[in-house]
């Protein structure tokens, strides 16, 4: 199990996840070493590959999360599995490890068999993705400055 049951239970019970992560928690959400490793692949045309990857990821991950939510609402396991799988892959490629871990768990679940766990994980996913968005935005700004 990737998350303590107590955390999931609390999220289900309160329907609330605090969005004021401390720096240490937030930094844990992404592994910047993974992202920085792409610097070696910079193109010669002056574009910043890392910024391009961040932009593509944030756009695509937002759409995947919406697709996951829709799949859960429709109890469409096949679609949930596919969207969660792709989100897992792109998130792990850019070091967004918590989003990748939650997606990996969602990929295995049937929304009909365990609806509460899926709902709770969806909330955690939104929360973790919000952290990633914030951290990637900072990283993006630093690179463009």
């Amino acid at each position: 199990m990737l998350f303590e049951q107590a955390i999931i239970d609390e999220a289900v019970e309160t329907k609330f996840l605090p969005f004021a992560p401390t720096l240490s928690i937030a930094c844990d959400a992404i592994d910047l070493k993974v992202l920085n490793a792409f610097e070696g692949l910079q193109a010669d045309d002056g574009s910043d590959l890392v910024v391009e990857l961040i932009d593509l990821y944030l756009q695509d991950a937002s759409e995947r999360i919406e697709s996951i939510k829709l799949s859960v609402a429709r109890a469409d396991r096949k679609s949930l599995t596919l969207s969660a799988h792709t989100l897992k892959g792109s998130s792990s490629s850019l070091g967004a490890r918590h989003v990748a871990e939650i997606s990996a768990t969602l990929e295995q679940l049937d929304p009909v068999e365990c609806p509460h766990r899926v709902d709770a994980l969806l909330e955690l996913l939104s929360y973790e993705f919000a952290k990633v968005k914030g951290l990637f935005a900072v990283e993006r700004q630093k690179r463009l400055a």
Binding site: V34, F38, L41, L53, D60, K88, G89, S93
Partner: protein
């Protein structure tokens, strides 16, 4: 016969088919393929890749994601290995699955290389270099 002779003497294709539904991965692979002086041809899912391959076989290599909408990487490998005009194209399968059985299935289906995610940029770079180099070596041997 004339066409056959022309094909034998034609310059080797520098086009690489990249099929992945993840735009991050597509962009990353495209960047590396361009750095290695090859031209990427992009497909957003398995069906799109299949449609390209139906009418086009001039590829130096194919880099396919395992799990894609409509048709999976393994489906495409099986198709490519059953068509005379496509069977010599080296194929690398990329997957987020950590499954040793999947690797075995990929090789038995006809994959040339298998790269599980996550990987470092260097690993991706050298895998693509080897894939393209392998193809060149095959050509020289032939």
């Amino acid at each position: 016969m004339e066409t056959f002779r022309k094909n034998l003497t034609a310059a080797p294709s520098r086009r690489v088919l990249i099929a992945d539904d993840d735009p991050v991965m597509r962009h990353l692979i495209t960047t590396i393929v361009k750095q290695q002086q090859h031209d990427p041809v992009l497909a957003n899912d398995g069906r799109e890749a299949y449609r390209i391959l139906q009418s086009d076989s001039q590829f130096a290599a194919a880099i396919l994601d395992m799990t894609m909408p409509f048709l999976e990487g393994l489906d495409l490998i099986r198709y490519m290995r059953s068509e005379n005009r496509l069977m010599r194209i080296p194929i690398m399968l990329i997957t987020a699955e950590q499954d040793i059985n999947l690797m075995a299935s990929s090789f038995s289906a006809g994959a040339t290389a298998f790269l599980p995610k996550p990987f470092t940029p260097e690993q991706l770079q050298s895998a693509i270099r080897m894939l393209l180099g392998n193809r060149n070596a095959t050509r020289r041997a032939a």
